[in-house]
Subunit: 358 residues, 4 copies
């Protein structure tokens, strides 16, 4: 339903044009020092209106801490983070009230629930991810502080343009050095140009985000259904517009021979390591201590300015085109969401491991 995680458990709520979007984080250990600014910082990375690459909507997205934190530390009780909805020009949405926009959730919501909040996509809005990013900021802080875990992701591909930069060498500074969040200074300009062209043509583009999780302790995960890779996959596939996920060698690895794909164990500084990392840092569902590497495929945004044919709720043929400037590419704003979901998965598995190891 609307809960993610088992021990570090978040429950989100909020339509994009209701009163607020919010999240309750249940299970955060007590005693973590966390400031409103640390949470806001992550949320600002997700905020619309940051650059010409994304939606021009201006939302302040200010997150309020309403419970669970006292005198700057978590209490061990549930934490409520909430952002009021401000940009609620409901009038704008009359035009789409009765239309099933192509590749939107309008149709499936109507069929499933018999009704829907049509203003700004309601619960299907990307705005819901604000709650995830806010919660993820707390997990990220905890993991950084306790294990020095680094969680970062970046735009690796935009449409057919792809950087071949080595994920293991990427820094957060390089990622944040341009509004696209692609750390390759050679490729980023062409990618950004492509996005702007698509925008001007009333169209949109997709792409791929690469994730890197560093310093994850060996032993996190579970052997069967709840493999760390499976939970990362579910986390990513639960983000709007995601159509694919791969870990380590992924789809490309299917063409290798076993003798090429196997990662030999060696001793390095008295620590057991692998000479290659086709596994992507996870064996048998459990972290190996190597970097966890994964890729997430995002389809192009379905909301475009170009005119499209579709049906309305009365099953009549209609044509629609989004008025005003649309968001041509979700990728730059999806980067902090990918980070947040990865942090939530790691945090949950860490607590589970803490409960059940010797």
């Amino acid at each position: 339903m609307n809960t993610f995680g088992h021990l570090f458990k978040i429950t989100t709520c909020g339509e994009s044009h209701g009163g607020a979007v919010a999240v309750i984080i249940d299970g955060c250990p007590p005693g973590l020092a966390i400031t409103p600014e640390e949470i806001q910082l992550e949320c600002d990375r997700r905020r619309p209106g940051q650059s010409a690459l994304t939606t021009p909507r201006q939302e302040r997205d200010q997150v309020h801490i309403l419970s669970g934190i006292f005198e700057g530390h978590t209490l061990g009780t549930p934490i409520l983070l909430l952002a009021y909805n401000e940009d609620s020009r409901s009038g704008d949405y009359e035009a789409i009230k009765n239309v099933y926009r192509p590749s939107h959730a309008d149709f499936t919501y109507q069929q499933k629930y018999g009704r829907r909040d049509f203003r700004g996509s309601g619960r299907a809005s990307a705005r819901e991810t604000l709650a995830r990013v806010a919660a993820g900021a707390i997990a990220k802080k905890y993991l950084k502080q306790h294990f020095n875990i680094e969680i970062l992701s970046y735009v690796e591909q935009v449409a057919t343009l792809r950087t071949t930069i080595d994920p293991q060498s990427v820094s957060v500074e390089a990622i944040e050095s341009n509004p696209l969040r692609c750390p390759d200074p050679l490729m980023a300009p062409s990618m950004m140009e492509l996005i702007e062209s698509a925008q001007q043509a009333g169209d949109s583009v997709g792409g791929v985000i690469q994730g890197v999780l560093r310093h994850v302790p060996v032993g996190l995960g579970a052997p069967v259904f709840d493999k760390l890779s499976a939970d990362l996959g579910k986390a990513m596939l639960g983000i709007n517009a995601v159509k694919g996920f791969e870990i380590g060698s992924g789809f490309a690895g299917t063409t290798l021979l076993g003798s090429q794909h196997n990662d030999p164990f060696i001793l390095r500084n008295k620590k057991i390591c692998c000479t290659t990392n086709h596994a992507g840092g996870i064996l048998g569902g459990i972290s190996t201590g190597e970097d966890i590497l994964f890729r997430v495929a995002f389809k192009p945004v379905s909301t475009i300015s170009k005119e499209q044919q579709t049906l309305n709720v009365a099953q009549e043929n209609v044509s629609i085109s989004v008025q005003g400037r649309h968001d041509p590419c979700v990728l730059p704003r999806a980067v902090p969401i990918v980070d947040a979901m990865a942090a939530l998965v790691l945090m949950d598995h860490y607590l589970l491991h803490k409960a059940q190891n010797q």
Copy 2:
């Protein structure tokens, strides 16, 4: 942990060389007619020793129904399905007792738990999936009977060989027409030849399985974390050796423009349909009524006969090579596992939908 699903909930157990592998299915509605033969049939598709393409180990894998079914019908109480372990030549495993096999879970289990059942990979064994297939047979029967849902999957790619057969035209008979479970009569022979060459070279190959779910009613799934696509992804990524999952257009779809990728709605026989299916049958996490199409990437099997360098538990360099004939390709036996996991996901979401719609 070892439970999958929320309302149609399965809990599996069993090391490959302990007493048995088993599954408790909790939440199956009462009154479903099911015979031991229907369950066995699915399990036999997963059984080792079916053909020269897979492991030669002979396991009968006879599944016993020990609770929850009475006079040929489910009671609504938990169903216990159990298969005793027979091929328990524990002696065979002394050689690998103290070795961390490359790309196996030996190392991560030892680190996580501080001990492991080294015989035949213990809980990390593919044998665990027998329990899933047995449980999936019940879900499959229910879905077929109530909605005429067809669940089928097949081998689409072996190493670099790929069939371009249209998944929407494939029949279960075509899939079962050869031991590889590839329904393309032109490509299947080359693929099988490739597998046998790899086997003779002491090596192994990976590939891709394509899944197709037909006649899924519109409205199954959930909007946020538990999108139908996310749960299918988790289900597949929880199968041993899986490194990637994509739904609909997947990674390839990331290169399209929004105007190309969007699936227009039209009316066909008074029913709302899409002219294309880049979505893969799921919009906003909820089924559209179109065929659900997904692809699953399997890495090459890590157990090979070729000699490999690795470490033992004393952190010494050792070389290993599996004795006897090894399994060069998991794909044909993975097909019924993919089917089973898909059936479990659909069944769970169907019951959730039943609970919560009007």
Copy 3:
């Protein structure tokens, strides 16, 4: 943790002197008509300051609907109900900041979490139940509308004074006819007098609340761990100050013989009924269709004006006495909490039954 229920699932948060108390209700079916006033009405029954019998603190407890309800109907998406904290005179709490109040949770919170919000008991405050009552109002409305289920409870016993009024004859009007919520016009005045005497003596009293659930359909519940009686018991024992729960004949029934206790089945208006109801409306964990009858024991309030000896956090002997007028009896305000928890249990089991029956 802070979630109750599985399909109609509520998650509460909020310290008594943090920003707000709130609840997310996940799993409410779409299409239920519900107004803010209907929710407020239940919350007002729980509000402090209603009468001389309870705490004099004045809290408006206004509940805001921030998501999940649109155009007067539930959307099927999570519902956020929130009440801001107003009466936050944190200064008042300096006196108890470092003291372990007798029979309060100060000591156990400090030991468990290593820190606590000492203002007004933080999360251990009765204020947390406001969130439960607000959520319960929605469940109550649904059950009333779909099955005409009546949920009512009343004060049956105050200290040693007990009414013997027949629970099956009690109406909500009779319960609300006096501020104590005891429907017995003969006993209520003495009970109220007793409470006021205790208050004046700086002391407090406990008692028993009787619950009655009418028109519950046959078949709700589960056979083993999640018996309807077990879930009602957990719901009630999770309310602050509750020390006991009994269903049907309860502790008194332990002295009967089997032949006296068994409830014979008979046919009444072509419906299978029982001539007696020692079972309290539940057999084998499943509702029989008879009235569900249970009793809940509340200890006397631990916060009293009388001076008491205790320890402070430095482990020194100190004496404390609550300043100002204290709450001498939780019973009248606990009635709507008992109602709410019963409604939540029934609603959850109803949805589970809907999912899993034929």
Copy 4:
């Protein structure tokens, strides 16, 4: 459904006359030394046919370990414990096949599921508790070994006969010194006589079991819905025939004044203790370190030899009387079930605490 616990999670299955009763224990930490004999010992305490006080049915109830334990230690993987059903004289049950026995679950199962296994009550049989006791033996061992926690319970009351022995002074040896499991040498003989008289009269008796949990560390439990007392209550109310539960002062405590009921904190050997224990070892849902004391009310067994009037499935009036010697009192065999459920609750809360404290 059929799962109890969240981190130390048991799932039971099995009709009394199906193939087996079994339990999967998921979440047991690795490395616990446990022998089949230790598990069997607890199960033998629950076994029918131990004495003249209980059912004469002879069941060996041999428990088999089929997974999760290797070389005498838990692996951290799920543990399957299974006992085959032996005393399956299905023929005996033809007489009750179509009858709704008074105060049995026949009627509610039939209504809920539309069918039932009528042989020996199917899933509603007391035999199901064998699975709980087997699982509880592992939890009990873990808690004893890690914290020296002692879990014991005993028969305190049979019909109107009650011992006033101090629960804090009772030893397991005293409990096991007679077949009734009442540690009071003065009262036990009269109680046993009363049970035998009831048996001879074709009738049955109920009573109360007192539970004592010693050396529980301070800090286990949770503040809101999952109070340790609420989870103990649910665990006990989920046992067949239980109609009431109280913790600490319970129903009797409702007649005290707050000043009498409050347990003052004092320092004893530099440890914070309470001079009284009306709380029963739990404050605000969290353990105080004092003994946890609770009482469980069992109604008289519903299966009696005396003739009773009831209805059959065709809604006709019929009379029934159980043939052969019936079980006049569940109490002695319920003692190990109460122990097991308490152990499961403590173990689950211990793992949760381990996950979430600093």
